[in-house]
Each structure stands twice: as C-alpha cells, then as structure tokens.
C-alpha cells in the first residue's frame, strides 16, 4: 500500500520533470520508479521513512490550513471599520522546547504565517521566541496553542 503510493508519487515526479503528461509516459515513469525502488529495496523496508512521511504530510496540511485561516482573518480584520478598537497587540515570550536550528527556524516561520502571531526575536540562548500577537486576550492560551500545535508536530517530524 505504502510502496504503491510512493511509486505513484515518483511516477508523477517523472512525468512533471520530463514535461509530457501522456499515459505512456506515466507508465514509463511508474516502471522506472519500480526499478528504482527495487534497487534501494533494502533501505525501503524501514518503516521509519513511511511514518515520518505521514507526519511531514500532516504538518504540511496543518500549515496550509492555518495559512488560509490566517489570511482570511487578517483580511476580515483589515476591512472592519475602526480597526484600532479590535487590536490588542503585544509581544509575548514563548518558551521553546525545540532545540536544533532547523526546528527553531521552521517553528519561527510557521508562527509568522499563522493567525495573529509574528515572530520578532529569538533569545541568544534559544530558550525563548518572542512573538508579536495582533490580539492578546490570554497570553497562556496563545502559548499553549503554539506548543500543542506546531511545536508538537515539528518535534514529531525531527525526533
């Protein structure tokens, strides 16, 4: 099941790189992907790749959804009359448990692209990301949302 999915994805990549969307070319790509997978069959049997792929896809899905939501929210905020009465901006400190550069960079980027939050600075000792929120009602809730959402998913992917 998982191998079938990977070979299909590889076939699609083949089709898009060769630039001809025809049925014979798709079959050709599929055959080549099967050969390629047969060559690396010993590495393919590790299930780690599959579970990690699933987590990465989950992360991408969550991220695209949050980006759409945040764009819609900013759009509706911009269009409200008396925009200033709806703003309660503030900078809050978000304690990071992610450690590596990649994880922190990814987390900071995701924070910026999701609703109402913008990463401003990372502490020198990397223990805290300072996040600008467009509307802070409950500081603890914002911190909890980030920690349980993106940070948990990112740590899952990179563990």
């Amino acid at each position: 099941m998982n191998f079938a999915m990977i070979s299909l994805v590889l076939a699609l990549v083949w089709v898009s790189i060769t630039g001809s969307f025809s049925a014979p070319n798709l079959v050709m790509g599929w055959i080549i992907s099967l050969i390629a997978m047969w060559v690396v069959r010993n590495q393919m049997t590790t299930p780690v790749l599959i579970t990690r792929m699933r987590r990465i896809i989950g992360l991408i899905y969550l991220f695209l959804y949050e980006l759409l939501m945040s764009a819609l929210r900013v759009a509706s905020l911009v269009l409200t009359p008396n925009v200033n009465t709806h703003l309660k901006p503030g900078i809050i400190a978000f304690p990071v448990s992610a450690k590596s550069d990649v994880e922190i960079t990814l987390l900071a980027n995701l924070i910026t692209l999701t609703p109402g939050t913008l990463s401003v600075d990372v502490a020198e000792d990397r223990s805290v990301i300072y996040v600008h929120c467009i509307s802070v009602d409950d500081k603890q809730k914002v911190i909890r949302d980030i920690a349980d959402g993106f940070e948990a998913k990112i740590i899952e992917v990179f563990e």
Partner: protein, 115 residues
C-alpha cells in the same frame, strides 16, 4: 470537457490572489504600527502570491512550469516570514514606537542583542 475546468479554476485563483494582495496593501495603510502591518503583509501577501502561483500551475499544462510554480511557492513560504521577522526585529531594536494600544511587551526585559 474535463480540461475546460482548468482555465475557470485558474481565473478564480488569480482573482482571489489579487484580492488577498489588495487587502494586504490596505492593511499596511490602515494598521497603526510596523508590527501590526507586518501581520497583514506577511500572511495576506503570501496567500495572494501563492494563489497566483497556483493559477500558473493550473493553466500551464506543462510539467516543468508546474514544478517551477511549486518551487516558487515553497521559496515564498521560506522567505516571506524571514523578511517579516527581520523587519520587525530591526524596528524593535531601533526603538521604533509601538502603537499605544500595545498591552504586553515581554521583550522589554530581555537583554539587548550584541550585534
């Protein structure tokens, strides 16, 4: 028949993309300080440009073009937050005033950066 739907989808996607870009621009004019403005620019702007890449991918029927549109979108996702972050950080440490509506500032108590 089936392929007739792609130009329509591409058109819708371009329209939505330009609306998001317009709203990002309006947000930059209307919001009170740089930090709140970066919210509008980074999110609605990324969404707008992303939808236009999607439109290109939908209408081109050309593998390499689709791949390039996708890669362009990924680079946008990588760079837009970084530039928003750098602008906000530079503005904060250059003592750019924040709007008086600001409620909390946890960064105030942090040690200033060396560079």
């Amino acid at each position: 028949m089936f392929s007739a739907i792609f130009p329509i989808l591409a058109g819708v996607s371009i329209l939505c993309g330009s609306i998001f870009s317009l709203l990002a621009a309006i947000g930059i004019v209307r919001l009170p300080d740089l930090f709140t403005r970066m919210h509008a620019a980074s999110k609605a702007g990324t969404m707008g440009a992303g939808l236009m890449f999607l439109a290109v991918a939908l209408i081109s029927f050309n593998g390499p073009v689709i791949l390039r549109a996708f890669v362009g979108f990924v680079f946008l996702l990588l760079t837009a937050p970084v530039s928003a972050h750098l602008l906000a950080r530079a503005a904060y440490f250059a003592k750019q005033p924040m709007t008086p509506l600001t409620r909390i500032d946890d960064l105030k108590n942090a040690p200033p950066p060396n560079n």
